[in-house]
Every structure is written in structure tokens, then in C-alpha cells.
Symmetry: C2
Subunit: 331 residues, 2 copies
């Protein structure tokens, strides 16, 4: 009998297969078919996105499940050029969960809502018997007001360059380190952060954004591969330009993963018209969270649907969509 | 150390306390403060509501978690006079869950979406390791287009009468019977159903709806008590008028519960201007799911904030907000 495997939740190949075969197939419609992180509805005026958070541990360096649950959904809206506005919050709590920890989580949510100038307008609270859920899971679903139209994973051309907003892989590495009790990486913390201000600043400065995506599960590799397929282009990345900290690199070596495959929660990839590259980087550099934003690659039509990684030694290889189990419960 | 108890998810007293003390307190804003099942946003044009479904067993007489997850959220929208339009669907699946059962659940969702003329426009799929969740939990969050304005739990007056759309307690009783393997109740099945068509028919026939609420967790008792407090009125119910089937009554006697406290998933309570009672019942009687809709009570100002239950023997008592553990994982 076929069963659901952990790999099917990896944000990569098996995850895409599950979503396509089961969910897209049943629910198909024009909006869903666009395969964006947030749906565009109401004549292009609103963005609508959902995320469930199951991260373990609940508290980790750089954030907790509460902060993450607001950043995650608000960022999905921001990536469609929308200002987060209304959120719902639905929690499933295990019987016996500490009330103090619940209050701490809700305080984090409140604080992060304020950063986004958004509010929770509706909610649901379930308590389930011991063993039915591990501690607490949170779903947030958000509506944002679209301020810049036309951002799309399907619209990238050879006129675009590819930027990344900061060093990659911190969230995945920090969660792994926290889970395994690895102390050596004392400076390592999740990049968990709200990105709406940065996106709105780009818009206000007139940057022509082609595509925008926060590199969560499946990391930068998943975003680039999805874009290459959806826009039918070849994305060519210079490996030496990808910012990775020593701490993240260290964790990657332990895990046998690539930093590009690790989840981020406050890092985005952007396809932007090459004429606007300088302006975009200037705007991003004015924010501490994207002070090291950098161009990592360009777009060609050499291998359509593929991502090519160029090493500093002049060799090249395909960067594949992540596959396998990666890290479960990363978000 | 204070912990979250099962009773805090009962849809009754302890549940309200948890929501007020933790969530409302942190997230407070004018929309949330209205305490409706769906938030009214965008200048009164849209309703927005969320629900997470943890029901056990996943398949039960009259429905499954898939059907329930669409009915539940669409009904919350319908209860604010809105036509369900866009839904998100976020699933958390336990590693090892049967792919065939997942497909069956998604098919039920698709079928129920069609009944509501609604679509899923965005989603999220998480897979967590064995033991982190019991089989599958589903969150749906919906946006509906408001077709009738002003429905409110805060607006009931002594001009209103109280109707119920059908016999009460089927969902709670059916879940309990399925969970415990009780065979005697062969005709017993959940009332799980979408209510949007009935509500829209009431609107089209010009019925002046004051308040509307599907009687889910906490049952009819919870709805009436919340209304009595929110509208600062006394609701007087005639016990003999409340429709309860023999099967449900039998389960209630086993459980030591009242049918009025049991969850429903396709049964609603309505406060309507007494001049419109006849018209409302006529409309409801044209639907098989509400063919037995009936007036169960009226509104006075005798005991403000309270619900009074009049027995057929001429005695009366307060019907309290349900409290204690009731049935966990009912929805």
C-alpha cells in the first residue's frame, strides 16, 4: 500500500509530486495553476496565502514558532507585492502544554504582527489529547493588499538578473543545531524575519520586480528550479557569489547538505530587470537584514527549465531540485 | 505550572476563557472584538474565517474530515450572509499515512467545494514524522462575498424569535458512536452539510435575519449563551420544541450529556424578526436538510445574559454554557 513519506514534505521534488498528483489535480483552477506562493484574487487587488507551522523545537536561536508563523505568511504575501493586512490564526494544542510557553508564543506573534502593520481578525483554538499532536501547531492565513502588480514566477526572461537578499541557509542550520544540541555554532541563528518593509521599499523606489520568492523549504535551490521550469528559462548561478557563513557551511558539512538546499525564513531571491540591478541592491543595502544582498546569477536560454551552477574553477553542473528527506519539521 | 487542558478546547466555558485571556488579549482589534464566527473586512464586502480539523475517526457515518473541512469553513462564512468564494487548504500529514485515504479525503473536499461553488486557490502541505500528529489534520480558511449585511450576534432584541434548522446533536453523537464502535444506532449519522444554499434562499426571500450561527462545538447551548451575553438579552427556550432523534437521545443518556451541548456540523440557530418567522420556516422547509426547522424560543429581558429552558412540566432552569471535557476531537 502506498503511503505518504517524510520526503513528500521536503519542499523539493517529492513534495511537488504529492501536491501535483493529489491537490492540484483535485482542486484545479486558473488561480491555483499559477503556482505562486500566494493566490492573487479580487481583480488583482488582494493576495491570499496559508501556511501551517510544525517547527521543532518551538523555541530556537533567532525566533520561535510564533514569530515564524507570522513572518511565514506575511512574507508569502509580501513576495506578491502585497502589504499584509488581515490574518487568521488557528492553533492546535496538545493537552498538558505549558500555558507560559503558549503566552510566550502569542507574544511573539503579536510583536511580529506589529512589524507587519497587520492584525489577526479571526481564529480557532483546538486542544487535542496527549499524543495526538506534538506540543503545538499553528496555521496562519493572510490577506494582503497588492501594491505592485505582475510579480510572477512565470515571467522571467533573459533580461533579468538573479539577486539574493542575504547569506543563505541560516534557518535550516539553526534548527538542526538546536535540535541536535550542537553548541559549536554559537553565532548561528535563524534568519527568521518579516520582509514586507524591504519589498515595499523596492516598489517605492521604482524597481521593476519580475519575480520574488522567499527561499523557505527546499531553499534557494527549490526557488531557482521552480522558476526555471515555470518561466522556461535557464538560470546560471555563480557559486562563489552565493553568500554562506562559516557556521552554516560547517553544519552543511556535518549534514551532507548544500547550503542552497537549506530552508530560510527571512531571505528572498529576486529576478529583476538588469537595468534595475544597481537600484535594487542600493535599496536592499539600506536594510540591515539585506545589507549583503548580492547578484548571484543571470538568465539564459542554454538549458531551458534548468539551473546551472558555475564553480570558481570554471566547471559547471546542474543544480537540482532538492530531493529526499532533508530536515522534517523545519517550519 | 499551569497547563492547557482538554476542557479548554470544548467550545464552552473553558474554551472561551482561554481564547479571551490569551488570544483576544494579545491580538485585540475592533474586528476581532465583534466575536463573530467570521471576520467582516474590506468595508463589509468580505467575510474571512478559519478552522482546523482534527476529527477522529477520519471517516464517520455521514462524512469524513475532508467534507467536514469544507463544510465547516464555508458554513462560518454562510452564517455571516456571505457566499463562500476562495479557500486555502493546509494539511499536516503523519509519515506513513495511506495515500488511498488521502485521495479519498481530497475527493470529499472537491465534492463539497462544488456544492459551495467555491475553490481552493492556495495551499500548504506538511509531512511530519510518525507520532508528531495523529494521521492528518486539515486547516481551511475562507473568504466569502457578503450578500446580506448586518447579521450580528450583538444585535438580537425582544422582537426576535429563535429557530433551529433541524434536529440537534447528530454530529457529536455519530462521532462518539463511531469512536466507541457502538452499533445499536444504525440510523445515526452526522448532520455534516453545507448550509450556504439555505442561507442564500432566506436572503433572496427577503427574510430579515438578525443573527445566524451554526451550532458546532458546544452545540446549541453555546450559541444561545453567547448570543444572550453578546446581545444582553434573555433567551427563553421551550424544551419540548427542540427536535432530538431517539438515536441521539440514546447516546446522550450513555454519555450523560444534553443533546443541546453536542456538536453539529450542518445545523444552525437563527434569530429572526418575529414578523418573518413564518416566511423563514417556509423557506427552510423547502430544503430536505431543514425540512423540520422549528421555532424553539423567544427573547425577553427577564434574565439578561442568560438562557432559560422551560420544560413541558412548567418548570424552568438556566441552560448553561457547556463546561468540562465534553468530546475532544469532535471537529
Amino acid at each position: 500500500m502506498k503511503t505518504v513519506t517524510l520526503a513528500m514534505g521536503n519542499g523539493g521534488e517529492e513534495n511537488q509530486a504529492l501536491i501535483s498528483k493529489i491537490f492540484y489535480k483535485a482542486f484545479q483552477n486558473d488561480i491555483l495553476n499559477k503556482k505562486e506562493d500566494a493566490a492573487v484574487i479580487e481583480q488583482g487587488n488582494l493576495a491570499f496565502s496559508t501556511d501551517s507551522f510544525t517547527v521543532s523545537p518551538l523555541f530556537f536561536p533567532g525566533g520561535d514558532i510564533g514569530k515564524l508563523s507570522i513572518c511565514g505568511t506575511c512574507n508569502d504575501l509580501a513576495m506578491m507585492g502585497a502589504l499584509p493586512k488581515y490574518l487568521t490564526c488557528s492553533v492546535i494544542i496538545e493537552e498538558g502544554f505549558s500555558m507560559r510557553e503558549l503566552e510566550k508564543i502569542v507574544r511573539s506573534m503579536k510583536k511580529e504582527l506589529e512589524c507587519n502593520h497587520a492584525m489577526v481578525v479571526s481564529g480557532d483554538t483546538k486542544v487535542v489529547p496527549r499524543g495526538s499532536v506534538d506540543k503545538i501547531f499553528i496555521n496562519t492565513t493572510g490577506i494582503g493588499e497588492i501594491r505592485y502588480r505582475g510579480i510572477s514566477s512565470n515571467a522571467i526572461t533573459t533580461n533579468d538578473v538573479i539577486l539574493v537578499s542575504r547569506d543563505v541557509g541560516c534557518h535550516g542550520a539553526a534548527i538542526f543545531a538546536a535540535r541536535e544540541g550542537i553548541d559549536l555554532a554559537s553565532n548561528l541563528q535563524s534568519d527568521c524575519a518579516s520582509l514586507s518593509d524591504q519589498v515595499q521599499a523596492l516598489i517605492q523606489h521604482g524597481v521593476k520586480i519580475t519575480a520574488l520568492r522567499d527561499a523557505t523549504r527546499g531553499g534557494v535551490s527549490a526557488v531557482l528550479n521552480e522558476w526555471a521550469v515555470q518561466s522556461n528559462i535557464c538560470i546560471e548561478i555563480q557559486e562563489e557569489n552565493i553568500p554562506v557563513t562559516c557556521e552554516v557551511q560547517g553544519i552543511c558539512e556535518m549534514l551532507g547538505f548544500e547550503a542552497l538546499d537549506l530552508a530560510n525564513e527571512g531571505t528572498f531571491v529576486m529576478a529583476v530587470d538588469m537595468q534595475d540591478e544597481e537600484q535594487a541592491l542600493e535599496v536592499l543595502h539600506s536594510f540591515s537584514n539585506s545589507a549583503n544582498a548580492v547578484r548571484i546569477g543571470s538568465v539564459s536560454d542554454v538549458y531551458r527549465g534548468k539551473v546551472v551552477l558555475h564553480s570558481s574553477y570554471g566547471t559547471k553542473r546542474f543544480l537540482e531540485l532538492p530531493s529526499g528527506e532533508l530536515l522534517p519539521r523545519i517550519c
